[in-house]
């Protein structure tokens, strides 16, 4: 497998991780999804490294340059309020095909672990109203919105976080709960 253009140390870390998983007899399939600059198709802004490990998705998004893609994603200059509203929408875009629109009968748990300021990995799952656990395949939209929520919260609270989690439980009428894990 050739490097699709990631920073060398990130590529090395990923290859080591996959080699370790394969050695432990896990099944690993990897796909790449590249976010290109619409004004310059030769220019890559971010890469989603979508890893299917034993049937579960873990998507690591790598930014080329911090905040470079904000105008393309449409989050430049947004406050926490707007980002939180947006987080609900981008989460719904992947959960609704499983749970149905506007339902409160499901549970959703999404985790974003920050590897460095320019890359994080996201994984999560839904428990449908029939009790079925379904993995979520995130993408760079989730990453950018959650990463910016993490950045802004960190600035306000004067704290560093290593992880942000989104939870939606049946008992909370479909409301989102954001959990911050201190670094």
């Amino acid at each position: 497998m050739n490097n699709p253009g990631l920073k060398e140390e990130i590529w090395t870390d990923l290859r080591q991780k996959w080699a370790g998983l394969v050695a432990e007899e896990h099944t690993v399939k990897v796909e790449f999804n590249i976010l290109k600059d619409p004004k310059d198709e030769t220019r890559d802004l971010a890469i989603d490294v979508a890893q299917n490990i034993d049937g579960e998705w873990v998507v690591q998004t790598v930014q080329r340059q911090a905040q470079e893609a904000y105008p393309v994603i449409g989050i430049g200059g947004l406050g926490l309020d707007q980002l939180i509203t947006l987080a609900g929408q981008v989460v719904n875009s992947v959960t609704e095909p499983v749970t149905g629109q506007g339902t409160c009968d499901d549970e959703m748990h999404l985790f974003m672990k920050r590897n460095s300021p320019e890359t994080s990995e996201i994984y999560g799952y839904i428990i449908s109203k029939t009790g079925e656990k379904v993995g979520v395949r995130a993408n760079y939209q989730h990453y950018y919105v959650l990463n910016e929520i993490l950045e802004q919260t960190s600035k306000i609270m004067k704290e560093e976080y290593s992880e942000i989690q989104l939870h939606r439980n049946k008992d909370d009428f479909g409301r989102l709960y954001f959990r911050f894990i201190p670094a």
Partner: protein
């Protein structure tokens, strides 16, 4: 309606002593809460307890404190404010600006919050004190006016007229009555 930015900035600014003196960290947020989704729920944690800032209306109404390792539901700071202010509890909810609400919390609830933070280090003492407060409130509620009058009396006598001292005098008196 307050924005999430306002809520978090307000908590961090008004309760900075929780970070600086008690080592709290911000760990959770439900940005919409309450019947009309106007409220919020924000959580802090330190080594020995959890705090939850709660609102139904968008303005801070309650602070819940739960020692770690205690499985029972936490009690609310406004409950202790209620214990001290009795029927005048509404006074804590009347001012409809964030600053006023926070100031009122500072004046009436902060002494209880500080006391409970210390007690939360020892869950047994925490629960014992809660019971005492509940019993005291049931038998002889102390209103804001009573606290003010006591502070004025102590001041006139050139004694310590702080809120804590006034409350101590009132509790002592209530015990003897």
């Amino acid at each position: 309606m307050m924005t999430v930015d306002d809520i978090l900035v307000g908590i961090r600014k008004s309760f900075s002593f929780l970070w600086e003196e008690y080592g709290f960290k911000f760990v959770g947020l439900m940005p919409k809460s309450g019947y009309h989704d106007y409220g919020y729920f924000a959580q802090l944690e330190n080594d020995w307890c959890k705090l939850a800032f709660q609102s139904e209306s968008g303005y801070l109404e309650d602070i819940c404190i739960v020692p770690k390792g205690v499985s029972s539901a936490g009690e609310f700071v406004s409950r202790w404010a209620l214990l001290s202010t009795g029927v005048e509890r509404k006074r804590l909810q009347v001012p409809y600006t964030a600053e006023n609400v926070l100031n009122n919390f500072d004046e009436f609830a902060r002494p209880y919050l500080l006391e409970m933070l210390e007690l939360a280090k020892t869950p047994v003492l925490f629960e014992k004190r809660l019971k005492e407060l509940e019993e005291a409130a049931g038998s002889n509620p102390i209103t804001i006016e009573i606290v003010r009058a006591e502070r004025a009396r102590l001041h006139a006598l050139e004694l310590d007229s702080s809120l804590g001292a006034a409350m101590a005098h009132l509790r002592k008196r209530a015990k003897h009555e």
